[in-house]
Amino acid sequence: MTTRIRIQQQDFDLAEEYQLLRQSESAVGAVVTFCGLVRDFELNVDGAESIDSLNLQHYPGMTESLLESIVEEANQRWDLIAITVIHRVGNLAPSEQIVLVGVASQHRADAFESAQFLMDYLKTQATFWKSVTGNGKQQWIESKASDQQAAARWDGSGDE
């Protein structure tokens, strides 16, 4: 399997990443890509608050190895040909791209399911922390129970 794992400040090009996945092998019959973007608001206890920028912190060295483990686990669970995970760090503005997960496989079910698995695990296990700035104040984003639940559905023996 071909893997590309990147943590970077600069933006990425979805079309270019798609072509790399598509051309990874002639056996590729399905490519699924997911892009996460910066919203211009954040829901919190006070309702929706507009944000001016989002900052992403990571733990250099550890974050990369956690992403490698998550990618390896996806490869064991599904029949995959290539996986790309790109996560940006630093300051980002609303509507900028944050994360790309792309999977190439022979058949679509493997690509669809593993892409969801990769995002669910990335959101709950990879050491990234978001803070947002809006109305002149910075605040850390709280982790969501819904993300934990989404990741938990992949535990157990697939009887969900």
Partner: protein
Amino acid sequence: MINLLFFGRLGDFAKQVPGTIEASTPAEIRQLLAADFPDLARELHQPQVLVSVNKMIVGWDQPLFDGGEVAFLPPVTGG
């Protein structure tokens, strides 16, 4: 000496904390910090806070060795 790192919101509570400390376990570090940084220590006692040694998640009683890197990790929020 043990090198200390605080991520996410924990960093806001740890701005005055020295970068190194003498301790034999992460639990001891938490205990030592409680004297001068009670707010930080309270945060470190939250059950969702994880600790890593040399970039591996470990238990709070993991033995530490000179030059090790201990990081305190609040719940992650990437993606």
